[in-house]
């Protein structure tokens, strides 16, 4: 069930000139854009928001006519707005692409159930095909099982590796070679900041490029929201009354990312342009490094031909990252099973499950 935000009933009759939109000069300004502090009305906001994404898509040649594109759809605000806007722009500007919603069911009880319900409503609302792949299908493990075995502290590592491969594997099953995700300017700036704080300058290039392809994968990834502020994405969803799901994943982000995010939000409050400024800094770091070398805008390509010995997934190593993680888990799972099977109490739950329940209660 989706409840849209209420429409205002109080409308100002008399407006001062200073309250008018700085673009059309005829309607009441309702937001100030964080990018440039321009005060604009709702209709002009829709227009500039959509147009900027269109320009990002065109100037970076993100799509070609006839391309099949999977939107990594989580039911959250970013991917919901992405699916909506891509469909709209595809019709408005005739990109000629075929859009499929691609969802991964990690098997996180209570979180993924509700978010998948949202994606299913989005499928109806936007009339887009939806494909769901479960961790159970792809890996024979659910995220809940993984946490139970590996402990909650490590869950983000697993979540990160498995989720990334899952989208690629899902897309490969659909014979789609391009996955678009809802990563926005805030996410990107946050990653740039984290890489700088960690001294991980080598990762800057990948963290600011709009299109990438990871080693071991024939699937390219792109981020049409690279220059979109989180705040504007939420405002867009709000004014368009888009149906999205919003609850923190019970496996919360690692502390370092959380702190970096907090820091950025505080910077943004003082100087809203800092988010695109950080991205710009990240980009110029790369340019300086590449001086003298080739400076073609080329996407990083994968090593063709190598496949994981376990699962056959394209991988630069003998065994792919996911299989390596899962192999470690299998060992711990066997141990925990022995630990748990007390005669007479076959249904007893593992200590990890209890731990997790406790973790949940503190949220």
């Amino acid at each position: 069930m989706f409840t849209a935000p209420s429409d205002p009933v109080n409308v100002r009759k008399e407006l001062k000139v200073t309250q008018l939109c700085e673009l059309c000069h005829s309607r009441k300004a309702i937001i100030r854009r964080p990018k440039n502090l321009q005060k604009i009305c709702k209709l002009c906001f829709f227009h500039v928001f959509e147009t900027e994404i269109h320009e990002t898509i065109v100037s970076n040649d993100l799509f070609y006519r006839g391309e099949r594109v999977a939107v990594g759809a989580s039911g959250g605000k970013d991917s919901t707005v992405l699916a909506y806007v891509l469909k709209l722009l595809n019709e408005r500007h005739d990109y000629g692409i075929e859009i499929v919603l691609l969802s991964i069911d990690e098997g996180i009880v209570g979180y993924r159930d509700d978010s998948l319900a949202t994606v299913k409503r989005n499928q109806q609302q936007y009339q887009l095909p939806l494909e769901i792949f479960s961790y159970q299908d792809l890996y024979d493990w659910t995220m809940d099982d993984i946490v139970e075995t590996a402990g909650i502290r490590n869950s983000c590592t697993y979540c990160g590796v498995l989720r990334r491969q899952a989208l690629d594997r899902g897309a490969a099953k659909l014979e789609i070679k391009h996955v678009v995700t809802g990563h926005n300017a805030d996410d990107m700036a946050e990653t740039v900041l984290m890489n700088i704080l960690r001294g991980d300058v080598a990762r800057l290039e990948k963290s600011t490029s709009i299109m990438t392809s990871s080693t071991g994968s024939p699937i390219k990834r792109s981020k049409p929201f690279k220059y979109c502020y989180q705040k504007e994405i939420v405002l867009y969803a709000h004014y368009k009354k888009l149906d999205y799901f919003s609850t923190e994943c019970t496996y919360a982000p690692e502390a370092f990312r959380g702190t970096a995010r907090e820091l950025m939000k505080n910077f943004e409050a003082i100087r809203p342009s800092c988010i695109i400024d950080i991205i710009a800094s990240g980009e110029s770091f790369v340019l300086k490094q590449k001086m003298g070398k080739q400076n073609k805008k080329k996407i990083i390509t994968y090593n063709d031909g190598n496949r994981c010995e376990r699962c056959g997934y394209l991988s630069s190593n003998k065994i792919c990252k996911a299989c390596m993680l899962l192999e470690g888990l299998e060992k711990s799972r066997a141990q925990i099973k022995i630990q748990v099977q007390v005669p007479g109490e076959p249904q007893q739950e593992g200590p990890a499950k209890v731990l997790r329940t406790l973790e949940r209660l503190t949220f």
Partner: protein
Amino acid sequence: MVNVKVEFLGGLDAIFKKQRVHKLTLKKNNSDDEPVTVGDLIDYIVENMIEDKNDVEVFLQNGTVRAGILTLINDTDWELEGEKEYELEDGDIISFTSTLHGG
């Protein structure tokens, strides 16, 4: 005295007993005429509506609404309406939307 509607969106309802919409009647100093501001509303929310005091910092930071929560007064960003100084009128809709949770 003023009657307003307050909405907690984007997952923020989690700290308000999962209730998104709240209808409130607010009074300042027991007077019927004294204007009630958004600042007063924030105080009211913090004092009376957040059940678990540990959750206050989810909503409040340095005495104002936390960075990352979007505050709209009748669908207009409160930055354009004087923020905490805005005087509430009957029928106003104030919404607080978390932009932080779950992309």
